[in-house]
């Protein structure tokens, strides 16, 4: 029974200042951007002070939380503080690991979509369009306004993080009532979204065409793989890697290097 109830004793509390700091630290989100786990390293780096304060002397708890945060994540950089704040509130109140991870995984993709639509496809074109018209006439107002807008947006990370934290704190009492069922539901949500992520992020397109008769060729990709199921190669390759990682205990570094070499070699051969 005790294992089912969220553990709350001995945890540090986060202050409003801690959350503001978290908002500013969201700048680290892309500090170690890479194709394997995208922003995971920087995301964890941003979370470290908050996690240290929450787990205090509980070294094992801290290690677990850091490890769990170090999983694939790729979101918009202004959505990151929102998600960081939300996660900090859940960590602080000792929600189940699977609840926290499930929600984070489920939310980063949609938030990336919304965030990119706002920052890259709405704010940037408007700001760039207006300031460029000044700049083309040689007016310093162009670059100056551009700069000021983005400095303001940078500091907006602080209220965005507070927003996420408060949303999380409000949701906690609801989660608390049925923590086991909620964590199961969160895992379902997480796994559904991972399925979608595989279909959108992993891209493998075979270029090879087989000549069947004079002047007639069959494209392996469009006339074979795509007819079986779209994105079947990404799904197959992801499961192959999952199998190698889980059952054969192959190191991720080996898989990264193998994938990289394979990609270059197949590009050279003209297969991909």
């Amino acid at each position: 029974m005790a294992s089912n109830a969220p553990e709350n004793k001995g945890r540090g509390k986060l202050t409003k200042r801690d959350i503001s700091r978290l908002g500013l630290r969201s700048i680290f989100n892309q500090s170690a951007m890479n194709y394997e786990r995208m922003q995971a390293d920087g995301w964890t780096l941003a979370m470290i002070p908050a996690l240290k304060k929450i787990y205090k002397d509980d070294k094992e708890g801290l290690a677990n939380a850091m490890g769990a945060n170090l999983q694939f994540i790729n979101t918009n950089n202004y959505a990151a503080p929102l998600l960081l704040g939300l996660e900090a509130s859940l960590e602080e109140h000792g929600e189940k690991r699977s609840t926290i991870d499930g929600l984070r995984i489920a939310l980063f993709g949609p938030l990336a979509g919304i965030g990119d639509a706002i920052t890259w496809f709405t704010i940037l074109p408007i700001v760039a369009g207006i300031t460029a018209s000044f700049a083309k006439q040689g007016s310093i107002l162009g670059p100056l306004v551009f700069f000021l807008v983005y400095v303001a947006l940078f500091f907006a990370r602080i209220p965005i993080a507070q927003l996420g934290y408060n949303a999380g704190t409000k949701a906690i009492s609801k989660i608390r009532e049925n923590s086991a069922i909620v964590s199961h539901a969160a895992s379902i949500l997480g796994c559904t979204v991972i399925g979608g992520l595989i279909a959108t992020y992993v891209q493998i397109t075979v270029k090879t065409k087989i000549p069947v008769s004079a002047g007639h060729t069959i494209s392996i990709q469009t006339q074979f793989f795509d007819r079986i199921f779209p994105n079947i190669l990404p799904l197959g390759y992801t499961f192959l890697l999952y199998w190698l990682l889980k059952k054969k205990n192959v190191s991720p570094v080996v898989l990264i290097l193998a994938t990289f070499v394979l990609a270059i070699a197949l590009s050279w051969l003209g297969v991909l």
Partner: protein, 269 residues
């Protein structure tokens, strides 16, 4: 007009700062609007910088690093547009085109780094597992410093001294190699997902993974929102289903307890 050594060093220093800013997406001083203006100021022709900034910003408006993709590099585009307009006397509009190879060069360096830095995650896993926050912080920041130095070096070489060899380098790069980098970038997330599944996937969740995958394959939409909504729907179905059975279990349990109590009372009859 030519660029002096001092100006070359100053531009390299600014490229380092803007490079870090682009890597982290902080203050957007990496956009051509700011890069061109600062480069112009360093070269002593602020107006040229501002005008080039307006033109290059518009030219790069559609090229955004969304979803982990990497467009031609805005910093090198901005720096070289102004430098080439300054040194050759051509109009900024023409210089944008001439600057493109340098922008592409930096784009491929960053693409290579995206793949290369994947190797660091294993070591970070170890630090995380031991809760070593100091070592973790140092290593997680290392890529940022590597990127910063690369910007300084490439910007200096392109601006001062080695402009022609740099252009030749870009033009001689075989397409299979650059294409290979792009392919590697689009397959490598599979390793991240494999690791994610290793920690999250239980047999009972496989159906949901397949549902999400299939939904994303057939729903053509700009982001994963539809898949997430389907996920939320599935999660709620399961949530209410479980909650009902848990409530029923409780009811049955109290009924049994009550029945058991009555049984004891009536035992004597």
């Amino acid at each position: 007009m030519s660029v002096t050594l001092m100006q070359g060093l100053l531009i390299a220093l600014f490229a380092i700062i803007a490079g870090i800013d682009f890597w982290l997406e902080g203050f957007y001083i990496f956009r051509p609007m700011i890069v061109c203006t600062v480069t112009g100021a360093i070269l002593g022709n602020l107006t040229l910088g501002i005008i080039a900034g307006g033109l290059t910003e518009l030219a790069f408006a559609g090229l955004t690093p969304v979803g982990g993709t990497q467009p031609p590099n805005p910093i090198m585009a901005g720096v070289m547009t102004v430098v080439l307009a300054y040194t050759t006397g051509k109009t900024p509009a023409t210089a944008i085109g001439l600057a493109l190879p340098f922008s592409v060069l930096m784009q491929y360096i960053i693409l290579f780094y995206y793949s290369a830095f994947s190797v660091l995650t294993k070591k970070l896993d170890t630090y995380a597992a031991n809760g070593e926050t100091k070592k973790f912080t140092r290593l997680a920041l290392l890529p940022t410093w590597i990127v910063a130095l690369s910007y300084g070096l490439i910007a200096f070489l392109c601006v001062y001294g080695a402009q022609e060899p740099m252009r030749a380098l870009v033009n001689s790069m075989p397409t299979w190699l650059s294409h290979g980098f792009e392919i590697a970038g689009s397959i490598l997330p599979a390793v991240g997902f494999g690791l994610l599944l290793k920690s999250m996937l239980k047999a009972e969740y496989v159906p949901y993974l397949l549902l999400g995958f299939t939904a994303a394959c057939f729903i053509k939409f700009g982001n994963l929102m539809p898949v997430a909504v389907i996920g939320v729907a599935l999660a709620f179905i399961e949530y209410y289903h479980n909650k009902r059975s848990m409530d029923n279990e409780k009811k049955i349990k109290t009924m049994i307890d009550n029945a058991g109590g009555n049984g004891d009372d009536s035992d004597g009859i």
